[in-house]
Amino acid sequence: MSELTDDLLQAFPYLTTRPSRDWPAFDCPPEHLLAFLQALREEYGYDFLSDVTAIDWYEESPRFVVVYHLYSIQQSRYIRVATPCVDDNEPSVPSVAGLWPTADWHERETYDMFGIKFVGHPDLRRILMWESYPYFPLRKEFPLAGHEVELPNEEIAERTGVKVKPAPMMGGPFHSGQTGPMSRREPRADDESWNETKPRPDELESFEKPREFRESARKEQ
């Protein structure tokens, strides 16, 4: 255990060390997060916030963990601070955008992808997905092939003749799972909406086909 770890554990009794393969890492309860990060920045020289992200542990509790990577320009070393989110269904942590402006966009991205609320963030909006998108794509229950959603723009939907846009990765990239017998572990398309037993949605009669398909079908009749 390094000198820094001892120092920090003594100065901040609420910290616990976190298993890590590279840099010193700590778990910090969310109510002390701001004070701890501020102390790291002002007393320990970790002046550069490199990254903010989250992990979705899915079936465990606490489900969401927000991870901060700080870098010290003077000492050339990193530190990792993780904080569990308060609620599994309505996760939230305090925002550090007041300490580092760069956290503004990082937190917006984390909110966009995981649905974690950053309390005290000046402008918490989606950044990569569009404003009314109803899902959080990096959560583990979000299927790889994507959900079918209504087109964001009604004008486009009218022109293309489809109300619902098929998810772009249908039948998508290959996936090798980690469990089960060897034959199941071969890489295969990991799509949850159709497979060998369930038909493709556009082969179903109830599927509303794009206009040109319908018209060419009418001509054939």
Binding site: D22, A25, D56, F174, Q178
Partner: protein, 411 residues
């Protein structure tokens, strides 16, 4: 004061603006999502008071492909081609950074020849990226000639990549624990020839642009980023160094044996657009210096980690003759390299800035969570701070000086 939003294509609104109907109002103009100066699909909402910008709001996400989600659903080696599509201006550097991150998690040490080849590739990627960066920057300031010069040189680097790994653009050259293949015979000679030819072109570019009165007047004192702002907004790479912060992981926390090479890290003083140009021009020369040293000191030996049996696929000639190796090859292809559980964060000095991979593994061949810290994303976040106060014609110059790539920003 009222704010009216006008689309550039909206003729009637534009003529109304010309006739003064909007007198005293702030006008919102959208620059992008597809604009020659945005280098990809970036939309800037600019609020104008007359010709002066009062507010700038970048809108991202037009190129979002969910690379992190994809990474969590495929094996480590399968993800290598996706790293090409991040910073597609110098793709081979992303391959190397990703391989280094996974190897750090797995605890593999690659042999010296592999390290030297990777380092050489990294510097070629930096040349590729900076050549395009300065060329397009000059083009944004009105000089198309400079772009032709740099793109001709970049074309030669493409040919080198083709000789190295068969692909000009999407290289996918590294594997976990090694490389796709060894460098071909005579390749090092070709690299030396190309960088030797490149030096006079850089001199010419310097003479053409750096002391050009028009360029100087457009870039000097524009878009100033102070040292404190650069750190607070998480800027990295040449943009940070132009503001006077000496952060270069090749010197501060060396990987790939950068500590054995002799090179300088240029630092700017004021952090304006002109400084960012100068820093990139000096970095081009420094990269050539490193490339030459790497060619002179290229070690012999294996180019893959031989002892990492569970991680690196066996050699093809062994696969075809030995059952044991065939099974091992099959296991690595289907299940991926077996990486132990744990979490790791690795950053490398990419041409654009610090590219970081945060990997959480539960063991096995697929990462549980992979976060890509992209330099362009952080570099762009300073726009709302530095653009207001300038004019619309200054925006292309500021964007050009930041040298971002949207594939990496949106991931």
């Amino acid at each position: 004061m009222a704010i009216k939003e006008v689309s550039i294509g909206d003729i009637s609104a534009r003529s109304a603006a010309a006739e003064g109907e909007f007198k005293g109002d702030h006008l919102v103009v959208n620059m992008g999502p597809s604009h020659p100066a945005t280098h990809g699909v970036l939309r800037l909402k600019l609020e104008l008071d007359g010709e002066t910008i009062t507010k700038c709001e970048p809108v991202l996400g037009y190129l979002h492909r969910g690379d992190e989600k994809i990474a969590e659903n495929m094996t480590y080696n399968q993800f290598v081609p996706y790293t090409d599509r991040l910073d597609y201006i110098g793709p081979i550097h992303n391959n190397v950074t990703f391989a280094l991150a996974v190897e750090k998690l797995a605890g593999i040490k690659v042999p010296p020849r592999c390290e030297a080849i990777r380092l050489l590739c990294c510097e070629l990627a930096r040349l590729q990226s900076h050549l395009l960066g300065v060329g397009v920057y000059a083009m944004d300031c009105g000089s198309i000639t400079a772009f032709m010069y740099t793109f001709t040189e970049r074309e030669k680097l493409y040919s080198l990549m083709e000789q190295l790994c068969g692909a000009r653009f999407t290289t996918s050259y590294t594997r976990i624990g090694g490389l796709m293949r060894d460098i071909p015979d005579g390749w090092l000679g070709n690299v030396r020839k190309v960088v030797d030819e490149m030096e006079p072109v850089i001199d010419e570019l310097d003479a053409l642009i750096t002391r050009n009165r028009i360029f100087y007047d457009r870039a000097y004192g524009l878009g100033v980023i102070t040292k404190e702002d650069a750190i607070a907004y998480g800027l990295t790479g040449p943009n940070l160094r132009a503001s006077g912060v000496a952060l270069d992981l090749r010197k501060d926390d060396p990987y790939l044996g950068y500590e054995n090479y002799e090179f300088d890290v240029p630092i700017g003083s004021t952090g304006d657009c002109y400084d960012r140009w100068l820093v990139r021009m000096v970095e081009l020369r420094e990269s050539i210096k490193i490339v030459k040293q790497a060619i002179d000191n290229m070690p012999d030996g294996p180019w893959y980690a031989e002892e990492a049996k569970k991680i690196f696929a066996p050699r093809k000639d062994k696969v075809m003759t030995s059952m044991e190796e065939l099974i091992q090859n099959f296991m690595i292809v289907t299940e991926g390299p077996q990486i132990p559980a744990g979490e790791v964060y690795f950053e490398a000095e990419n041409p654009k800035g610090l590219l970081g991979f945060y990997i959480v593994s539960k063991g096995g061949g697929v990462p549980y969570r992979m976060k890509i810290r992209s330099p362009s994303f952080c570099n762009l976040s300073i726009l709302p701070k530095i653009v207001p106060g300038h004019m619309v014609a200054d925006v292309p110059v500021i964007l050009g000086s930041l040298d971002f790539v949207m594939g990496e920003c949106d991931r």
